[in-house]
Amino acid sequence: MNKTKKRFTEAYLGIYGLWLIAFVVAPLLLLVIQSVSVPGQGFSLSNYKEFFTSGPYLAMTVNSVWYAFLITMVTLVIAYPLALCLTKLKHRQFWLLLVILPTWINLLLKTYAFIGLLGKGGLLNSGLEHLGFGPTQLLFTNGAFLLVAAYIELPFMVLPIYNALLDIDPLLPAASRDLGASAGQTLKKVIWPLSLPGVKTGVQTVFIPSLSLFMITRLIGGNKVITLGTAIEEHFLVTQNWSFGSTIGVVLIIAMGLTMALTGEKKKKKKGGRR
């Protein structure tokens, strides 16, 4: 009995191991190999040297990180109170469904819908005109880019926070109030720290994909916001310099790894402290 169980585990491990090697390890290795094999030169770190010494690419990296940070902050500021409200509502599942619903719609369609909303003759502008403000340029502005990106990422921030909030024992905030803490204090000293794991997951799931957004930068930002995603797209499709495109990909992966490490470490410490 025990033996067959063991064999099952081994078989499972084997299948998952193969899967991991074929679809995670191998592509990553290929990406790294591609990035250090420069056509005509063989193995070379020249791509990395070029990346870290060129003004434009460094500027793009700064842009990417800065905008990803802004998008994450905007979604967090919107998502946290939203998740908090959701946990207090009666028909939570229904309201949660409404938050998730937009993810059922194709990303491109949503983006095109925003073109219609933000455009010169769009809904928002005609609304503004009724209120007496002249037509305002909304499309192709940084604000519009942030708005659309945050809108698209919002469900991915709300869900983990909502789950973390739901996990909090309702007796804890009640006890806090009972012992004389104000609502604000309870939120700050009890609810917020207990929901931090959810916040971290949310930050990771929003920040990391935001680093390499490219379609929205063109459609809504009018290419006035240039991120590394744009550069990767260009290297793979236009210049066909896959080697340099891979280099940027590797740099992004390292950046993502750093983000994970930075947001993950604190979690461990917290756990240790609680015990």
């Binding site: 056509p39 003004g55 434009p56 500027a59 793009m60 073109i115 455009g119 010169k120 003759g121 340029q137 499309l139 192709f140 063109r218 459609l219 930002g221 009018g222 290419n223 006035k224 240039i226 550069a231 260009e234 499709l237 236009v238 210049t239 066909q240 310099n241």
Partner: protein, 360 residues
């Protein structure tokens, strides 16, 4: 657990439904195919032929046409190279003809089997990407130019490419997101060639380009025609085909080619080396070169036809439109893009990238 199971069986049900539908569709198609001559696979851009022409061709020749589409030259190249599907006739743009030819993927045209050669205008034959038209025949052609809103911009102000640098157009210009085109027009405005391979010239062009940024409202792709039709921009640098499309949606738009010349692009008919129905491909090629058919097609697509006898059959309002059929002296100034190697592609793209990064 039960819920999860329900979800999965729901997905499985949908899958079965779709597969069944697809199966039924292909079954009904192959049934109607039986008893006919060969089926030719025509690999073309989406909506790039009058569907009636294909029907007429099928009726006249007895061949069946399977119309497959692609949305970029690169995608088409990859598919033809992979060779999984058999394509008998394809429509690459100029530089892609050269690339396909260099990769040995094209069949040489047997001129004795081509009946429509005499109908073509010499201006569009014997181009640098295929000297002597050994592998290709032109299908449609066009230019890079300026699409503008007649209500707020007058054509007289758009004589040369330098005009788009004018302070009048502050924050009103849309650009096509293409390094070759934007750098090319800058080089033209400085009296250089769109195929310039001189580092100093490219640096100078980049310098001039950076001063264009205050005028640029956005740098976009295919969406440009949509934005222009909606009035998002007052003028835009784009291709004649895209311009035509936008003009159909918004009557205030017009298109012009600056006098200092421009890029000439051509889409061409080619037969891939691995084509299995070459006879049928020649038959379709010849049918499409017939003046009456080419004219009908040009009316439907709205692009300029390289078939001079077909052009003569078009209404005056079309063939005398200088935006789409420029006069000969401007025609002589149009240049086809030469195929660049990776080094020069990169140079142009780097310059364009730095321009895009520049803050307005």
């Amino acid at each position: 657990m039960k819920k999860l199971l329900m979800t999965f069986s729901g997905i499985a049900l949908l899958l079965v439904l779709f597969i069944g539908l697809q199966f039924a569709l292909t079954a009904s198609r192959s049934q109607s195919d039986s008893g006919k001559k060969d089926t030719i696979t025509f690999y073309n851009w989406g909506d790039y032929i009058d569907p009636e022409i294909l029907k007429d061709f099928e009726k006249e020749s007895g061949y069946k046409v399977n119309y497959q589409t692609f949305d970029s030259n690169e995608a088409m190249y990859t598919k033809i190279k992979q060779g999984g599907t058999n394509f008998d006739l394809a429509v690459p743009s100029d530089y892609m003809v050269a690339k396909l030819k260099d990769a040995g993927l094209l069949a040489k045209l047997d001129k004795s089997k081509l009946s429509g050669m005499s109908h073509f205008d010499k201006t569009f034959m014997n181009q640098s990407f295929d000297k002597g038209n050994e592998y290709s025949l032109p299908y449609f052609w066009g230019t890079l130019g300026i699409l503008y809103n007649k209500k707020v911009v007058s054509e007289g102000d758009l004589k040369g490419w330098s005009s788009i640098w004018s302070e009048k157009y502050r924050h009103r210009l849309l650009l096509v997101d293409s390094a070759r085109d934007v750098l090319g027009l800058t080089l033209l405005s400085q009296g250089k060639s769109v195929n310039d391979k001189n580092v100093a010239d490219i640096a100078a062009a980049q310098g001039k380009l950076s001063s264009l940024m205050p005028n640029v409202k956005a740098i976009v792709g295919d969406e440009l025609k949509l934005y222009m039709a909606q009035g998002e921009g007052d003028l835009a640098v784009t291709y004649s085909g895209e311009a035509r499309n936008a003009m159909e949606r918004n009557k205030d738009l017009a298109y012009t080619v600056p006098e200092d010349g421009s890029n000439l692009w051509l889409d061409n008919l080619v037969i891939p080396k691995k084509a299995e129905h070459k006879e049928a491909a020649y038959a379709l090629m010849n049918y499409l070169s017939r003046p009456d058919v080419a004219a009908k097609n040009a009316k439907y697509i709205g692009y300029a036809t390289p078939n001079k006898d077909a052009k003569a059959l078009l209404p005056d309002s079309v063939k005398n439109n200088e935006g789409f059929y420029p006069k000969q002296d401007l025609l002589d100034k149009l240049q086809v893009y030469e195929k660049f190697n990776q080094y020069w592609t990169q140079k142009y793209n780097d310059a364009f990238l730095e321009f895009k990064l520049g803050k307005s």
